[in-house]
Amino acid sequence: MVKRVERIKYAQLDRIGVLVEKGELTPPAALASIRKSSESLIPPTATNPGSPLEKALAQLDGLVGLTEVKQLVHEIKAFIEIQQKRAREGLANEPLALHQIFKGNPGTGKTTVARILGVIFKELGVLSKGHLVEVERADLVGEYIGHTAQKTREQIRKALGGILFVDEAYSLARGGEKDFGKESIDCLVKAMEDHRDDLILILAGYREEMEYFLQANPGLRSRFPIRIDFPDYSLEELLEIAQVFLAERDYYLTPGAREELARQLLVTQSLRHSGNARLVRNIIERAMRRQAVRLSTQPNPSRDQLMAIERVDLEGGVAA
């Protein structure tokens, strides 16, 4: 898709743009490097959008906010590459423990980042397939003795070569010692050892719950050295997400609509778990439908009318 290709170009340009913005590059020097990169890397009408690795990194960089996450991913990537080089030189090689804990509210980008990580790990040769299997308690925990192990192993089998992403993982510790969730955890830990070369586990969930979960299971702590915090999006970031989402679909917000959206987001931000990209998408998708209804009575809507989301399209939406 064209959009992808553009993302990548933006990501490369981003680096040049950032230098210009920081005052580290003059405009003529920036133009010269843009020219060089478009000569060597990607022709202006790119048909070769770069390697899957570059694509994945560009996709990551293209996500709104998530500064720390992005930095950490770049660090992990660098670490893997250096470990591989060290291995070739016969130097002591730190075994790569890439299992991770993702902490954050729903809709803060955890699954999206996990999916991109899968591609990156595959391209770096850490995983053979790099796909993502997303599960929750109900997919892992059974109803009778033996059932849980069977269900958990089934999911592990599907995830081999890729990432097993356990959402709301803390719920596995629910119900205490006698709960089958405990059995599932044991099963997962065993799989981590058995398939240490071709399976990555990501346990995700709300911040407090995950911290409590790790405290209650000290054995897990050391097995998950990478812990990433996914902060709630700020109001500005949510607005940017909305605008990117719309721009990708050839819509835009009128100033009035942007005000209204900001107002609604402010209201919901005071509620818990609401710094949430999914919520923004829901609001926007609804507004797109309401715009369609509003325009359907017009015989000849103009191009601009077809693109504009107006305040009325957002009004009356109960955003919660």
Binding site: I16, G17, E21, E24, P27, A30, T254, P255
Partner: protein, 203 residues
């Protein structure tokens, strides 16, 4: 191809050109879509006269966003809708104001994406080497990049001012081999040639 990017050094007359060119093509009111460097997008409707008052600057770095106007060019029996995008002006050095640098970064991004580029140069200033709008390194770089695109022309602007004729001669020497149109954005001179060039390329 339907998008045409207007670039050049700051104060070269880009904004005035876009507005007066739109008026020349028959528009009295324009819907301008502003895309700010921080990602905000908004649309405002102006009369050309009001837009000239508010958007054309007495000082450099007036424009701080991508400002797009849609125009209808006659093609065959019908018209074709195209988009002219005005940009924040370029400079050779690093500006001390981060807002200006951010706006310039946005322009550079747009240049990277553009297919058809109209490059405005202040012909009257070209002869005066220390004028801020005189021909600079950034103009050479724009020309280098732009000639790899679908279309590229240099518009030698402010031909109504003294010194512009010798400036134009110098421009031809300094940036040879490109299509060049002498114009006056202020008095809408040379617009016919620009129109037929754009028309030809956009179809």
């Amino acid at each position: 191809m339907r998008d045409c990017l207007i670039v050049g050094k700051t104060h070269a007359g880009k904004t005035l050109f876009v507005l007066n060119f739109a008026q020349y093509l028959g528009l009295d009111n324009v819907d301008l879509i502003f895309k700010y460097p921080n990602g905000l997008i908004e649309k405002k409707t102006y009369s050309i006269a009001k837009a000239r008052r508010e958007l054309v600057g007495p000082i450099p770095h007036t424009t701080r966003a991508l400002q797009t106007v849609s125009i209808d060019l006659p093609v065959g029996k019908g018209v074709k809708r195209c988009f002219l995008t005005d940009t924040s002006g370029l400079i050779d050095h690093i500006h001390s104001d981060v807002e200006v640098r951010r706006a310039i970064a946005q322009t550079l991004g747009a240049i990277r994406e553009a297919d058809l580029i109209l490059h405005l140069v202040d012909a009257a200033a070209v002869g005066v080497s220390d004028a801020p709008t005189a021909l600079g390194e950034v103009d050479y770089q724009v020309a280098q990049i732009a000639q790899m695109r679908g279309g590229y022309a240099i518009l030698a602007n402010k031909m109504d001012l003294p010194g512009a004729v010798s400036g134009l001669a110098k421009l031809k020497l300094e940036l040879p081999g490109h299509r060049l149109f002498p114009i006056s954005a202020l008095y809408k001179r040379g617009f016919r040639e620009v129109k037929s060039y754009v028309q030809h390329l956009l179809c």
